[in-house]
Symmetry: C2
Subunit: 323 residues, 2 copies
Amino acid sequence: MRLQDIYKNLRNDLRLIERELEASVHTDHHQLNRSAVHLLEAGGKRMRPVFVLLSGKFGRYDIRRLKSVAVPLELIHMATLVHDDVIDDAATRRGRQTVKAKWDNRVAMYTGDYILGRSLTIASTIGDPEVHRVLSRAITEMCRGEIEQIRHFYNYEQSLLTYLQRIKRKTALLMAVSCHLGALVAGADPDHVRRLRLYGYYVGMAFQITDDVLDIVGKEKELGKPAGSDLRQGNVTVPIIYVLMHGSQQDRERIIRYLKSAGADPSLDDILDRLRGSEGIAWSYRLADRYLDKALWMLEGLPDGETRESLRLIAEFIGRRSY
Amino acid sequence: MRLQDIYKNLRNDLRLIERELEASVHTDHHQLNRSAVHLLEAGGKRMRPVFVLLSGKFGRYDIRRLKSVAVPLELIHMATLVHDDVIDDAATRRGRQTVKAKWDNRVAMYTGDYILGRSLTIASTIGDPEVHRVLSRAITEMCRGEIEQIRHFYNYEQSLLTYLQRIKRKTALLMAVSCHLGALVAGADPDHVRRLRLYGYYVGMAFQITDDVLDIVGKEKELGKPAGSDLRQGNVTVPIIYVLMHGSQQDRERIIRYLKSAGADPSLDDILDRLRGSEGIAWSYRLADRYLDKALWMLEGLPDGETRESLRLIAEFIGRRSY
């Protein structure tokens, strides 16, 4: 089985979810419709719906119940992206202009608020209070993640733990919740629910660490945004933290000077070259690998079969992707 | 009893809530701390906490339980204000610069997200799933209200019903929920809970209608913002809707021309003068009075006493306030 086969197997249900996403953001407000559709069309891998569907296969697979959590989860993800682009002052994402760049911060703010509102409206039709509890905690933590991101912009003294907590809130949590809720609404065995949630969490951590490495070593064409965007925006990621802790004094000083200048210092390209040649890259990949190993370990306790194999493939893909 | 006496009677508990509000928005992120404190210091009447506390008196009054809903409700209110100011492009509120004017839309966006996140975090400590259900529906509806506001900017064809639904989501709902949750966590009689919720809803409708009239007839000094802000921002309120429906052809044409120009037409002051002299003002006040009558009617079914008298006074104050 290859990665495409997973999408092929889920094709009909993913199409259904895509249609519901389109219908759910549709509005007769012209500007909102344009910005929400722009965001939706930027696409992405729809990883959260994929996790919901695959996790649902460990119980009674009912697409109607599964889409009632998959759609709000993907909408929450979209809402955070559009606000994150304001926070990060990002001009492009996935090769397209961001909402804030195409229009402005105000439009991005209310587009995000709108999509969050749509997400909550759809989620409110779910009867299970446990689902609500899990969802609202996730939203809370993601709001905190957004703020943690701002708080530590240009902070060259942050620890690895600070970074890990931030990416947990920013990325891993919603993936964990996707697996959790997919399994939960399907009535899967509680131990399987727990394992799937942890699988999603570990995969999410590995995904974000890899993302942060790719931001430094990747090509603009593959990234869909300029390389080095994180550092430019003051977002201090794990390869940078590694070099700040273990790099040569010269490298450390250059990075600190850059961060102290809040991006005004003209040495970004030079710093990026140094980071690319540093131990920080290999060390970060090893860190991601450790999370992937944990994710694979969680799968060990799940029933063998095609679905488990799909989750294994996703974890492995994340480990070796280059975009 | 006068209005001040209500605040005096609740003084200690309101102080406690004020301290919790301060503590809950405090952060070591410099910008966030400044903007959140700026927002907190703008103050306001803390109507939502007052409603929570007074409603709690119809059951077992326990300030610890009551503040666990009063604080998140006031924070939700603050979060919507700061985003609303971005939507409305408002420069001042309550006589102070808005966050978006003092800093910018980006800061206003993340300050609102932060305060909403803080609100949800505090709310998540509440055990009762019914409280969560009520709160998350309120947040959902308020997100929808924000969008309805944008959708109908400069729309001169909107009906009175559209307006009423919008102010319900924007204002009345959170007041209804404040009364509802105060009574609910105090374990009040279900019929009293229902009556208090409706009281809050009717008072909220009257409050917003009065607010919208004052925006036209009030003085800048008392309003804490320039008169006519609503029309300038394209926010079509009830006196304007009345004149669009029943005014002279000349008045209707002037307003439509202004709204069609999206505020570029220079005739705002002239239109405001005409609105002030129109039937729309008295008609809107009568509409507010009808809601207040309904609010007072709801109080009839509650046990007689000082608390009921306080709620009556608040409703009456809203009916005759000039700021």
